[in-house]
């Protein structure tokens, strides 16, 4: 709660759950979640892309919801539950159904956007599962193709033309139903 006027910046302690493990560290106020994940915790699956919230390559889940980690202050990770692409894979090393579907549909080319895409699709899955437990929230059936497209509006892919990615998401939702 104190502002420091000296050149040495104040460090802030943050504690959160990262891929189901409790972690904590001391950081500067201006550190972005993306840099914390990649540089401090050395999880390189989350990709730095545009740095402006346009491309979605840096998407992670915060309390289950997809967020651009390049536009999220790491101090606000305190007390949250954060999942990166590394946390999507099950503990035995097998792939999550989202990842399996992306592989099965050939939805990966250069792969740079893939972790962000996978996290966004998982975020949509969480949204549909959770909305049923939240009073006053809109409840729908499984996401339609149009809803999947709308949901992925913040993820850019320059290789695939999106068709296979959307196919992969659609197939996964049908399978999970």
């Amino acid at each position: 709660m104190k502002k420091t006027k000296t050149k040495t910046e104040k460090l802030h302690e943050v504690s959160f759950t990262l891929n189901e493990k409790k972690v904590s560290c001391k950081i500067k106020a201006s550190v972005l979640l993306l840099d914390l994940i990649r540089d401090v915790f050395e999880l390189k699956g989350t990709k730095p892309g545009c740095g402006e919230g346009e491309c979605g390559a840096c998407t992670v889940l915060i309390n289950g919801a997809p967020v651009n980690s390049c536009l999220f202050l790491a101090v606000n990770a305190d007390g949250k539950n954060i999942t990166t692409i590394e946390g999507l894979t099950k503990s035995d090393g097998s792939l999550h159904p989202v990842q399996e579907s992306l592989v099965a549909h050939g939805a990966v080319q250069c792969g740079f956007c893939t972790s962000g895409m996978a996290m966004s699709i998982k975020g949509l899955m969480n949204q549909y599962e959770n909305s049923h437990n939240v009073p006053g929230e809109i409840k729908n059936g499984i996401p339609s193709r149009d809803e999947i497209k709308k949901h992925l509006e913040g993820n850019l892919c320059r290789c695939t033309g999106y068709v296979k990615i959307i196919d992969a998401a659609e197939a996964m939702f049908k399978q999970e139903q």
Partner: protein, 289 residues
């Protein structure tokens, strides 16, 4: 990018922080989606950010329905607005505006208060709230609340009437009139692409008709067409008493002319002033079709 941060956990701590820093270089950080971009491009020396994300106060973060209407805490996210059934059914203009904002990821953190206080003429949620004639609650460090209608909230381009010792605490939208039978309510956003777009021109409208189809209340606001979002009062008054389905071509044009009288657009990278005027005229007419 370099700044110090204060993380108040309660509204009391928040007001104490505002009081302490009101004469210094400070900014509020809500969802920070616009703010971090601004800081990345133009770092501010000796800046203190008062972080609003950790304030635990249901009145500041939540949404509450009452007989008077709906009250949103300033920290309510765009995603929560999109997901709310009451908003989707009763105030479609607000649902559609929130849904058209940026992307899924940004809507998770972007807040209604942030959209308002950025005071951008192209603010989507703010434009919808203007058409709904929302009321703003400005909380001061003394703990007192000053109510300001949204029409008076925007003082100019990226300027609001908020004083240095005040914070936008909540926004209320009035309930639809009891005798309302139908609602014609939408947010028309014109841009060069469908997602991640900043409006080139936008029009928010919320029109209520009775059981005979007569317009009993009308709200229309324009975005990206003037230094601030503007409520087109004379255009709205013009509609009262008319039958929505029977509005003539001449009346549609008169309505559009009245909407246009509130516009004073500029030519910039996204569109020319002339294009903005023509589009605004045409989308204003189109709401009856």
């Amino acid at each position: 990018m370099n700044f110090e941060i204060i993380n108040p956990g309660t509204t009391k701590e928040l007001l104490a922080a505002v009081k302490k820093f009101q004469k210094e270089n400070f900014r509020f950080g809500a969802g920070c989606t616009d703010f971090l971009m601004e800081l990345k491009k133009n770092p501010s020396e000796g800046l203190t950010v008062i972080n609003l994300s950790q304030v635990k106060d249901a009145q500041f973060n939540g949404l509450k329905k009452s007989v008077k209407g709906l009250r949103m805490g300033a920290m309510l996210t765009a995603h929560k607005i999109v997901m709310n059934e009451e908003i989707k059914n009763k105030y479609p203009v607000l649902h559609n505006a929130a849904e058209s904002l940026a992307s899924t990821q940004i809507r998770q953190v972007a807040t209604v208060g942030g959209n308002m206080c950025t005071a951008s003429p192209s603010g989507d949620i703010a434009c919808a709230l203007a058409s709904l004639q929302a009321d703003c609650e400005l909380l001061s460090t003394t703990g007192k609340i000053r109510n300001v209608n949204i029409n008076s909230f925007f003082a100019g381009l990226r300027k609001t009437v908020l004083k240095k010792n005040e914070i936008l605490y909540g926004i209320s939208i009035p309930a639809n009139i009891k005798s309302t039978k139908n609602i014609f309510s939408n947010f028309i956003k014109v841009g060069t692409r469908r997602s991640m777009e900043c409006s080139v021109v936008s029009l928010a409208y919320h029109i209520q008709t009775d059981s005979n189809g007569i317009i009993i209340k009308a709200g229309a606001a324009i975005g990206a067409s003037a230094p601030t979002i503007r409520f087109a009062a004379t255009a709205c008054d013009f509609l009262i008493g008319k039958k929505f389905k029977n509005i003539t071509q001449k009346e549609k044009e008169e309505f559009a002319e009245k909407v246009l009288s509130y516009a004073s657009p500029i030519t910039d990278i996204r569109a020319t002033a002339g294009y903005r005027k023509e589009v605004l005229f045409n989308i204003s007419k189109s709401i009856f079709e």
